[in-house]
Amino acid sequence: MSGPSQYVPKNALARWLEARLPIIGFTYDSFVAYPTPKNLNYWWTFGAILSFMLIAQILTGVVLAMHYTGHTSMAFNSVEHIMRDVNWGWMIRYLHANGASMFFLAVYIHMARGLYYGSYKAPREVLWILGVVIFLLMMATAFMGYVLPWGQMSFWGATVITNLFSAIPLVGDAITIWLWGGYSVDNPTLNRFFSLHYLLPFMIAAVVALHVWALHVVGQNNPAGVDIKDVEKDSVPFTPHATMKDMVGVAVFFILFAWFAFFVPNYLGHSDNYIEANPLVTPAHIVPEWYFLPFYAILRAIPSKLGGVIFMFASIAILVVLPWLDTSRVRSAVYRPIYKIFFWLFIVTVIGLGYLGSQPPEGGAVIAARILTAWYFIHFIVVMPLLGLFEKTKPVPASINDAVLAKNGGERVAAAAPAQ
């Protein structure tokens, strides 16, 4: 990315092109010669998995748009037309619908990995913030995509989420009407959501490019949380070493993806979405898709309309300032025994919020949601700054190579012991 390219053109044509547009050299430096920490584990393959998921979603999505009709009177049946009549339509639609879930599963693992190993810490703040931007764009895309089949959950999900904006003082109602293009979710809303649902993935792709660019400037974090000091000793070339490991991760992840898409394709969906939208009847129990449940729980935990909306958006916005909230000088949780406990507590909190988001907001569920919501914010605002000041960390290895030697040495001793 910086400095002269390591790529040496081997023939005249490549030399000619390279002098005019150094695209081969750029690709070579970024994806072949790029030094990768040699101690990356399989949690680091989720970046590649996400790239593949984005491509899969765009490909299946473009195909679906060829057969879908964005009109309230035809949208529901046009999706069923895809399922019944279009060649391979059932497969492409189930891949797209389950692909959204798989995309979020992968992004949550990717984010959790970043939290665990401190990948957001200096100098990777911009890299991390770009990731939060991608996450927000993904949420917007998924939300609008879920409206398109025009089932009951599509319609009422759209109604509830767009109504969030009416909580804004003074201009809230005007904004909501502007979003709808009318006085309720209706045909203008469906049409603009279709248009934006098609547009946003390409914006995601653009931000992904920035995300990868930032990554290549600062280099990859790794389980040891120390940067590459000696390229020879600490790193391997990205291709074939990291590429091949990534491919293993992608293939295994796609088995999971295929399982859902082909064998339990409606498991992650909601049966009410097979009932065509009816603006006069609300389903008994509105729940968003599973990947929104923790945020939905936070929204409902706050006993005020505006407050709920603010806290819900704040729960994501707080990730942006995380690099400055974490005061620890050690990146990786491997050397932070107390943080490690709080990390897992945080994961349990988010899963707990997800579960509560799926439950009717009654009795104990409301109180539990409030406690977990409070903890969600306390984790970032109180725990992260204080841990950095008071936590006694373990000694951090001097280099990636030292970390690897320590790990392998430990294993060798352990393996040798029974033989003696």
């Binding site: 057969h67 037309h81 060649n87 391979w88």
Partner: protein, 173 residues
């Protein structure tokens, strides 16, 4: 012993790489197919590919246009004079030689796809120098059998697959 390992290993290594690459390539090819096939006509479109037409109300000399697979089909109830005229044409005068008898199932009924074989415009009936059809786009002239006589079109108007279900009913497609 060191040499045997050195020679044996690269072969096994290469085999593994080739096998992995080959399987991946097969997978990629198999994945591409559904994405191509989805653009072919879907089941509901294929199901509509035949149309039944009642021809009892078409008077002698009249041309009726019906839609089949999204395209116009001309059904012309030819008069005796028109049939004679169409049959009398010498084949060597035709750019795409075809006797009239090869283009009809019953001489009084001419059924052709109403799409000019030049660039797909719809020719106008009972116009042009041969009383057949005349294409306004680039001046192709068709005769009473729908055969190209002059102009840029390379072939005669296409005859669709059709059958007489009864004297008054035909099925196109």
């Amino acid at each position: 012993m060191a040499t045997t390992i050195a020679t044996a290993e690269p072969t096994r290594r290469d085999m593994l790489f080739i096998a992995t690459g080959a399987v991946a390539a097969v997978g990629a090819a198999a994945t591409v197919w559904p994405f191509i096939a989805q653009m072919n006509p879907d089941a509901s479109t294929l199901a509509l590919s035949s149309t039944e037409v009642d021809i009892s109300a078409i008077a002698e000399g009249q041309i009726v246009t019906v839609k089949w697979r999204g395209k116009p089909v001309f059904i012309r109830h030819r008069t005796k004079k028109e049939i004679q005229e169409a049959e009398a044409v010498a084949l060597d005068k035709l750019p795409d030689p075809q006797p009239d008898s090869a283009r009809v199932k019953k001489p009084e009924w001419l059924v052709v796809i109403g799409v000019c074989t030049h660039l797909g415009c719809i020719p106008l009936g009972k116009q042009g120098a041969f009383d057949g059809w005349f294409c306004p786009c680039h001046g192709s002239d068709y005769d009473l059998s729908g055969r190209i006589r002059s102009g840029p079109a390379p072939r005669n108007l296409e005859v669709p697959e059709y059958a007489f279900l009864s004297d008054t009913k035909i099925k196109i497609g």
